[in-house]
């Protein structure tokens, strides 16, 4: 009788725990397998054996986990009058091992598309987008630092009569606008970082993945 009570108590505890687990938010219920992906990517560089596009696809989750683990977003110059230059830093990068050679992220996926969406604004059913196209280049520390200049983007928008959907080539990058209204939005959220090559092999980090990993959206407020 006593033993049966203990078993019943144990089952009750188990059920309560299950209820607690499933009532918590999804972001706090990351499956153990995902944690393993993060835990395994502790070094600055992790080697992935890549023979073809399928291998990139198969390793996408691991590569994204690694990139996110070393990701930071910083203000370049806080003292500047125009606080509009930011850097996306990736300090943990994948190394792609093919049968013939070993390629860095930038050698394998040399182009980067960084997409920001205007926060809290919609024009004709579409959220305004600002897209920077960059060449992937590792710095001297073998890290990846990508500068995005909102001041350039805002100037281009003003100087081209507020064209809502256009693209422009600046010295450091191509800048695309989509669905912009009459004014250049001041609040932006990073919604996609895409690494790709001409064979259309790609690694895309979405806004939701950034929020899941960092705990909050990567946002920019222009003054």
């Amino acid at each position: 009788m006593k033993f049966r009570n203990i078993i019943l108590f144990a089952i009750l505890l188990f059920i309560l725990n299950l209820i607690y687990f499933y009532s918590t938010k999804l972001t706090k219920r990351i499956p153990a397998s995902s944690n393993e992906l993060i835990d395994r990517a502790q070094n600055n560089s992790v080697v992935f054996e890549i023979k073809n596009t399928d291998d990139i696809l198969e390793n996408t989750k691991k590569i994204k986990a690694l990139l996110l683990q070393g990701f930071s977003f910083t203000d370049i110059d806080k003292t500047s009058e125009h606080q509009s230059q930011y850097t996306l830093n990736f300090s943990k990068l994948p190394q792609f091992e093919t049968p013939e050679e070993s390629l860095s992220l930038c050698e394998k996926l040399p182009f980067i598309e960084i997409q920001f969406s205007a926060r809290g604004q919609v024009n004709n059913g579409e959220i305004p987008k600002l897209i920077f196209l960059k060449k992937c280049t590792l710095n001297s520390k073998k890290d990846l630092s990508i500068e995005v200049n909102f001041y350039d983007a805002k100037n281009l928008f003003s100087s081209t009569n507020s064209n809502p959907s256009a693209n422009y080539l600046t010295a450091s990058s191509s800048i695309y606008f989509k669905n912009l209204g009459e004014t250049f939005p001041d609040d932006w959220v990073l919604t996609n970082v895409l690494f790709y090559n001409q064979k259309l092999e790609q690694i895309a980090i979405s806004s939701y993945e950034l929020i899941l990993y960092l705990g909050n959206p990567v946002s920019v407020q222009l003054h």
Binding site: N17, T27, N35, V122
Partner: protein
């Protein structure tokens, strides 16, 4: 010994049975969406939540005095069609006492403007509907009609270039409700409206979209 084994068993069930897993990254003070919601034809914010007026209905809109009187009637007729499809009143209209600025601004006032001034590089736009939102909630909507590059009619077109005003307004009021463009015909949210083309009913696709949020 037996008791220790039972306690260990209970402990195991409690601590290992329902491992929450580690949180990826620092804990958030923000209220995160549990998962990206299905778009269902609506604009989504950065958390993947659908953006709409939620229960803040009806949407109170001012018709600017720049809008011709007969066109104002078409606006109300378009709104009634949405309300009828939703089975509840979605819009209230008031005539603005005096003409405001023709540039919609973030002033927490929902307005419809008739504009004779329009950017040359946006001349293909028949109208623009601008929404402001905070989290998943729309806080303001403004519609600006391009009366510079387009001519509109109510009942009968006077020439082959005129655009049916009520058809246009049904579409723009869809944007006011948070709808995106849809590329699945038939829908009033199809991105373009050809001159003299009539789009005066709320289609099944649009009703389905409507039901997702209202």
């Amino acid at each position: 010994m037996k008791l220790i084994l039972i306690l260990l068993h209970v402990g195991f069930l409690f601590f290992a049975g329902c491992d929450q897993g580690k949180v990826l990254g620092p804990a958030s003070k923000l209220e995160l969406a549990t998962a990206a919601e299905e778009s269902c034809g609506y604009v989504q914010n950065e958390f993947g939540e659908r953006v709409s007026w939620k229960s803040n209905l009806p949407v109170n809109m001012y018709i600017d005095s720049s809008v011709p009187d007969d066109m104002a009637e078409s606006i109300k007729s378009a709104a009634n069609k949405w309300s009828k499809a939703a089975g509840k009143n979605l819009f209230n209209f008031q005539m603005a006492a005096k003409a405001n600025s023709i540039t919609p601004s973030i002033d927490k006032v929902n307005s419809i403007y008739w504009s004779k001034v329009w950017d040359a590089n946006k001349s293909s736009q028949q109208a623009i509907t601008t929404l402001s939102f905070n989290g998943p909630l729309i806080t303001e909507a403004d519609i600006k009609i391009n009366a510079k590059d387009f001519e509109f009619y109510i009942d009968t077109p006077q020439n082959s270039l005129q655009v049916n005003f009520e058809s246009l307004l049904i579409h723009e009021l869809g944007h006011v409700l948070g709808f995106k463009h849809l590329n699945l015909k038939p829908t009033v949210m199809w991105p373009t409206l050809a001159p003299a083309f009539l789009r005066l009913e709320i289609y099944y696709t649009d009703q389905k979209t409507l039901k997702c949020e209202y």
